[in-house]
């Protein structure tokens, strides 16, 4: 990149907010996946106007812009491929919490947990709970339509976005949506930008719907199963039951083996898998609902089903879940977290597919995830330095997506396509639909300046991905 561009960016943002030292390029080249590429320059705008000005420089010099929040994405969506890494973390102001209208207006760089905390202090609730909520930004959550365990009951980020301020590639500042929960006034452009992974515009401000807090009593349902068919039946039955839990998480036998030291008494040894559900209710209703849900699991063929309301017993159960990540990391250094999602009735068949893939490709494949949404997280534990293993891992990933699609599912439930899954897009999306997506992209970003090389397969820069360095 020429010094001219850096100079122009510095004159827009000030010298402290345009960085290009090798250390800065390295540290803004990654997200939470195993891919990384160096940007040419890293910029930190502080206002919508500054974002516009950065885009003006980018347009003038035909330099691509890669928008990034905290870099916790799991699909390479924010990984720069050269060009300008546009980091939104300075735009972290909560502009308004409107208690009367149950909404909040925030800049895109606000950390999710900071918003959750601020609205909690006002007696309100922002439900989306991505695993990285303490780090991730609202802008990133919108760009990838982030979910989380409670999405089963509350839905993903997109369900809470009422309106957006978006800077388009040509510098136009769009305001979409509004302050109302119902809004059928022209096309729903808000939804268009949700999950668009920074390819259609740069989200600078978000108006979010808030809820009253959930009922205060918390219980945990733990059920274990001798076979995957029974586990699948229970997922369907729990999802369809009027007493359905707030979250519906599963953990397979390979995960259970890894955290056997933490296995709570509610889960016997040697089962095929277990369900862990959070149940939020009023204190007087909690026991009844837990009994109800136990019964649902037993009818589906559960080996054990226990509704736990004791605080320390619940802590034991969730401690096992929390122990999973470190325990898994001790096996091998590289963890590839996939996000394949299937219709919930297909879960047992898909789990069986995953067992087959594990054996066929000889990979350490563990499955846990948001079963209630069909959003399983097949995780492959491997070592990126082992070329032979990585070839088998890549083959296994191909198999996983083929299986998910064959079962009527999709590539991503909550991580997005980013860099890592774009090569599967032609298989996942009908050609006409993909063509329509491309037309939309070229309409809003005709010069392909915004996050090029993402989401769509075989774009000009796709070769760089192959030749790029992995970190």
């Amino acid at each position: 990149m020429s010094e001219t561009i850096a100079r122009e960016l510095r004159s827009v943002l000030g010298p402290d907010h345009v960085l290009s030292s090798p250390a800065d390029l390295v540290t803004y080249g990654y997200d939470a996946t195993y891919v990384s590429h160096l940007p040419d320059v890293v910029v930190f705008p502080n206002s919508t106007e500054q974002v516009r000005q950065v885009l003006a420089v980018a347009r003038a010099h035909h330099v691509p812009v890669f928008t990034r929040g905290s870099g916790t994405g799991l699909s390479g969506g924010s990984v720069p491929l050269g060009g300008i890494a546009l980091v939104m973390t300075r735009m972290n102001r909560i502009l308004e919490i409107d208690r009367d209208n149950l909404l909040a207006r925030v800049q895109a760089g606000v950390v999710t947990a900071d918003l959750q905390e601020a609205v909690r202090a006002q007696g309100l609730f922002y439900p989306p709970d991505p695993g990285s909520a303490r780090i991730s930004t609202i802008g990133g959550n919108v760009a990838e339509n982030a979910g989380g365990p409670r999405s089963f009951h509350y839905g993903t980020t997109g369900r809470y976005v009422l309106g957006l301020e978006v800077v388009l590639a040509d510098g136009t500042v769009l305001k979409t949506g509004g302050k109302t929960t119902k809004n059928v006034t022209g096309y729903d452009l808000t939804s268009l930008f949700v999950g668009s992974e920074g390819t259609l515009g740069i989200v600078t401000e978000v108006t979010l719907r808030l809820l009253p807090p959930p009922p205060p009593a918390r219980g945990t349902l733990v059920a274990s199963f001798a076979d995957l068919a029974a586990l699948g039946r229970a997922i369907g039955a729990l999802a369809a039951h009027p007493a359905r839990p707030t979250s519906l998480e599963m953990i397979d036998r390979h995960c259970l083996a890894v955290v056997d030291d933490y296995r709570p008494p509610e889960i016997p040894a040697g089962v095929a898998g277990a369900l862990l559900c959070e149940v939020l209710d009023w204190p007087e209703a909690l026991q009844r609902r837990l009994r109800e849900l136990e019964e649902v699991c037993r009818e589906a063929g559960a080996v054990t089903a226990a509704g736990v309301s004791d605080v320390s017993a619940q802590r034991r159960v969730w401690a096992m879940r929390e122990a999973l990540s470190p325990a898994v990391a001790r096996i091998k250094p590289t963890k590839i977290s996939e996000d394949a999602t299937v219709p919930i009735a297909a879960i047992p068949a898909f789990l069986a597919d995953l067992e087959e893939i594990r054996a066929l490709r000889r990979v350490n494949l563990l499955v846990f995830g948001h079963a209630g949404d069909g959003n399983l997280h097949p995780n492959i534990i491997c070592d990126e330095r082992d070329a032979d293993e990585m070839r088998r891992v890549q083959a296994a990933i191909d198999d996983i997506f083929a299986a998910a699609l064959a079962r009527g599912g999709t590539l991503s439930g909550e991580h997005g396509i980013g860099l890592l899954k774009r090569r599967y897009m032609t298989r996942a999306v009908p050609a006409e639909t993909l063509a329509a997506m491309r037309r939309l992209k070229s309409l809003l970003d005709p010069h392909n300046l915004l996050n090029p090389g993402k989401v769509f397969p075989d774009e000009a820069r796709s070769q760089r991905q192959k030749g790029g360095r992995t970190a």
Binding site: P22, A23, A32, R134, I135, E322, P333
Partner: protein
Amino acid sequence: MSAAAPHYGETAARLAVAHTEATRCIHCGFCLPACPTYQVLGLEKHSPRGRIQLVKAWTEGRVAPGEGVAEALDLCLGCRACETACPVDVRYGLILETARDELAHHRARQPGQVLLKAVLRHVAAHPRRLALAARLTARLVQSAAGRQLLRAAAHWPDSWLPAALTFARALPAQSGPPAPTSRPAAVSGLESAARPGEHNTWVVKHAKPRAALFTGCAQAGLFPQVNEATAALLRAAGFDVLVPAGQVCCGALHRHQGDPGHARTLLLRNLRAFGFLSGEPPEMVVFNAGGCLAWIHEAVGVFPPGTPERAAAEQLAARAKDIAAVLLEHGWTPACGLQNGGRRPLRVVYQPSCHLTHVCGVTEAPLKVLRALPGVAVALPADGGACCGSAGIYNALHPQVSARVLERKMAAIAAGGPPDVIVTSNPGCHLQMLAGVRQAGLAGQVTVKQLPEFIHWYVAQSQKTKSPPG
């Protein structure tokens, strides 16, 4: 990217252990909210994730120290809060210290590094010299010339000097080890004529459990009253207290500043002084400084496995305990069982030593012993006890960043209104809190004490007045 430095292969070999550990990082970013420097500087290279990736890139020859890596490593506080936050248990401390050793190796001939090493070896590790240096510095900054210097420094707001002076002004003017005549309160065995391994004669021996007191360098030099209070509390809890002569600085500062050789020398001297290499080692070595205890726990690796020194270091590590944990474990109860008499409780904020929390895992015991005092309301700072910015000698080396970390810290401490007392568990934190209290304009309103000192004072006061002080 940059050309690899000459002799790069040697660097890569020395960094191999850091590189292996760095590959375990899944760059999830869970460490970012736990990192004080990321919170104040807002840049990825000043986060644990960023530093880990930089060390990895350095080892792989993709970036050179002078291209921002050294700055990123220098500005790390080393508080290790990231290790507690890490979901996959990456040993950040190992990566940081391996990389810092390598940086020190590269800088070995730079005048700054030579001076730092000399100061750490010949001043900081010696309580009397440290106390003298602190007294001289305090006198200088409070003298007419010092005030002039301060006024002049205000013209260079971004430079090291004015920031460093704000910390220097917090140095206690009256400090230093007590005169030998004041025994048995005097617990500095350093100047004793007793040979290593021998114990001071004033200890009355009978059938009580024995606890040896580790007196440290900064603690003995700047806050001798903390060692006295620790000994008094141990005696009140039923211990025979030994203060082995010949004990020296633990070496943590040297270890963290890239001088592991000297840290090893000091450890060896302490192993001898405490009788772990020959003679009869004490059942327990009690520490009142989190930084020292943490290093003693981690130091075993400086000796190869299978050597007598390694076995001795392991034995010392196993017997090294924090004062609060010892009091709690031995059922100590404060000798002031009086009710509060309707007065408002004394508001105490406990600002823990980072290494006590994140390396030693001692989090509950200090709170429990403080809460055992009647008439005291104990809280953690609103940030849960993140690093105060002291970080060994970080506030002297990087006073500007340290001041920003401290500013956030003081806001977190005063979030629920300024407390009456800030209690810490390390001499460095103690100094930093003194500076913080000044910086926040709370001088005269908020007292700073270390945990044993506070408890000892509180119990003594309540015995005198027959009711809790406050």
